[in-house]
Symmetry: C2
Subunit: 401 residues, 2 copies
């Protein structure tokens, strides 16, 4: 294609994050700097907006509004979970042609990268000329080619903060507490709970990942041991934990499936309640509670990682730079430089490399017992979430009479 002149279209897709609008605003502001880009349009609710002609003019938005939007959680353009069929691709290109779209940016996770890939492949077939880019986001941190993904650091910070608080709650009124954390196939977000631990007896005491089979007997043995040691036990468990046959434990309670074939795991307390019931029944401990952190993890306003916000803005900005430059299509990937000091660089990778398939926690991040993280994970995750609130504890000098 080489140099292309025309309009730019941007959209958001999949589960939102707290910093997904940073990428949107980063791309809009960058788009304004290039003569190749005439109009800057937004499609509402992902590709659904293109199909329905639900297109807005983003150049008309005030910069002061955009700056606030960047720090506002969740997809400002609306989102969708939709995989385009071949006949829908045709319809999409027909509409793109009407709006003279030559630059297309799709912010989302692996399913969204797949949508961008499908569009790009179909465009080649029908000869529709556009530059097609995927801008990464996902609290799951499960995109291939990436060291980590925008959205993860902020969600991880929320989880770590929630566990810091819940550790004190569980200390105040001791018992067994089960906290269910998002993450369909990847345990990165659940693992972030480990960042809450400061003192030896702090929670989380146990962490379970979707990457390892969840064996009820082992889980009960682990809980029993911790409870005997500390008189309490706080467990962080991924919503995606699965049995030896790779069957998600939570999926036994739900039937809803989205367009990408994903079973609904979030938005229900069933898994936490199930685990609480098992502990209550088998271990005869009286105080058992379960919380499912739910959508707060990806939408709570004001709790974000500074690093995450900056990087989310950067990938939006870079996608436009790359598209206006020599690249035809691709996804912007975040890579980390080797060395002690945290530093990242960015690369364009082929769409198919991040589409559909996801990555999981590497083995070196999970301990041998399959119930906690390794020091390597802590080193990996710490710079991504930034500063946690300072806490204080009493030294508790016993009075002897």
């Amino acid at each position: 294609m080489g140099k292309v002149k025309g309009n730019m279209l941007i959209a958001q897709s999949g589960g939102p994050t707290v910093v997904i609008n940073q990428s949107l605003v980063g791309a809009i502001i960058e788009g304004k700097k290039h003569n190749e880009i005439k109009e800057i349009f937004g499609s509402l609710y992902g590709i659904k907006g293109i199909l329905e002609g639900n297109i807005i003019d983003l150049r008309k938005e005030k910069v002061s509004d955009l700056k606030k939007v960047a720090f506002t959680p969740c997809s400002a353009l609306g989102s969708v979970r939709k995989k385009p069929k071949d006949e829908e691709c045709e319809e999409i290109f027909k509409n793109m042609q009407k709006y003279n779209i030559r630059y297309f940016f799709y912010i989302g996770g692996n399913d969204s990268a797949e949508t961008a890939y499908i569009l790009n492949e179909n465009a080649k077939k029908v000869g529709y000329e556009f530059k097609c880019f995927h801008i990464p986001k996902t609290i799951d941190n499960d995109l291939k080619e990436n060291d980590h993904t925008p959205g993860y650091g902020s969600a991880a910070k929320f989880v770590a903060m929630a566990i810091i608080g819940d550790n004190f709650d569980n200390k105040s009124l001791p018992g067994v507490k089960i906290d269910v954390i998002m993450g369909r196939h990847a345990g990165f977000l659940t693992a972030a709970s480990a960042l809450a631990k400061i003192y030896e007896d702090d929670a989380p005491h146990l962490i379970y990942f979707p990457e390892r089979p969840f064996i009820i007997e082992k889980f009960l043995k682990d809980v029993d041991e911790i409870y005997k040691k500390y008189g309490r036990c706080l467990v962080a468990v991924s919503e995606g934990i699965s049995d030896e046959n790779n069957q998600p434990i939570a999926a036994k309670f739900t039937k809803e499936v989205d367009a990408h074939g994903n079973v609904q795991l979030s938005g229900t307390g069933a898994l936490g309640d199930l685990l609480a019931d098992i502990v209550r029944r088998e271990l005869k401990i009286s105080r058992i509670r379960a919380d499912t952190f739910g959508y707060l993890q990806r939408s709570f306003p004001g709790i974000y990682s500074e690093v995450d916000a900056k990087e989310a803005y950067k990938v939006g900005e870079l996608a436009v730079k790359y598209a206006v430059g020599k690249y035809e299509s691709g996804s912007v990937a975040i890579k980390r430089e080797k060395g002690k000091k945290y530093k990242v660089y960015y690369e364009v990778v082929p769409l198919e490399n991040v589409a559909k398939e996801t990555r999981s926690m590497p083995d070196e991040f999970i301990n041998n017992e399959n119930n906690w993280v390794t020091e390597k994970f802590i080193e990996y995750a710490k710079p991504l979430i930034g500063k946690l609130p300072e806490i204080g504890i009493l030294r508790k000098y016993k009075v002897k009479i």
Copy 2:
């Protein structure tokens, strides 16, 4: 009693809050200022610590640590849900005598006030001389005699922030969302969700309180109406909602009961899931999610109302002042001055006035449809939670082709 010299003992009881340690630290710092008070002791896990001789020396704690503890969520001394029997009172006084306790402060809700009341009555009977004070806290905001209670403002702020975020989440991926909020008999915390609303179509769209019978048919009609209007519907519902026979809807799924006769309503996602199932079945809407905000509401670090933190400190400080002064026993109550500007004053009220019985949302705070708050409630609650994070939205100028 008049002037009393001896040691001070302080303890915490019931569900924790984010600012409960403000009261603890306020009382300790004030205690140090009075010659009448010799040693300053803390009992671990409420009155259980007195029974078990689990007493710590709070004078030895560094002031720099105490300052951090004040801003750390949940009961730094540990908590308990325990109502003392007569024979336990005897045991308590025997141990108090050993430690020469003449000033006793119990930080907690109405159950804790009842415990203080029982101790005070038993002390009179057996002739144990001490000054016995209750220091209020509860996120439920349900203490009699009080305009509001320490802990409420911060929990209310958390709820409002969570709903602000969840509103954007629900806007991103439209559907029906049910958020279950704490509050056994009082709807104040659930009502605080209303503070999240800025624009006309903002969530929460519906709010249900434990003060009004929860009629499934009316609930479905309400949800259906909102869903037809906005293409989405976010519902804030109290965990304590009950049917026409005053039977908590959630209680149908749980059996655990504490020493004060309270049925466990928190720490389970059952109510949210039940309501989601009913909506799914009856209204044939495909995307339904439920979140139960759970213990994060009372324990999330760093999210607190400035006003709440200050007042929580103040009631701790004042309890000691009153005890060293002319009062023999009582609870510190927060009253609000009439007038436009928010201003409070404090009073000592008899222990029995806040013990056991709780207060509910006044009728003037609930709308005629029983599904939202009134402007009066907004005026009441706004000054208690302080500033919410600024958000931004796109103006969405439609492109016409």
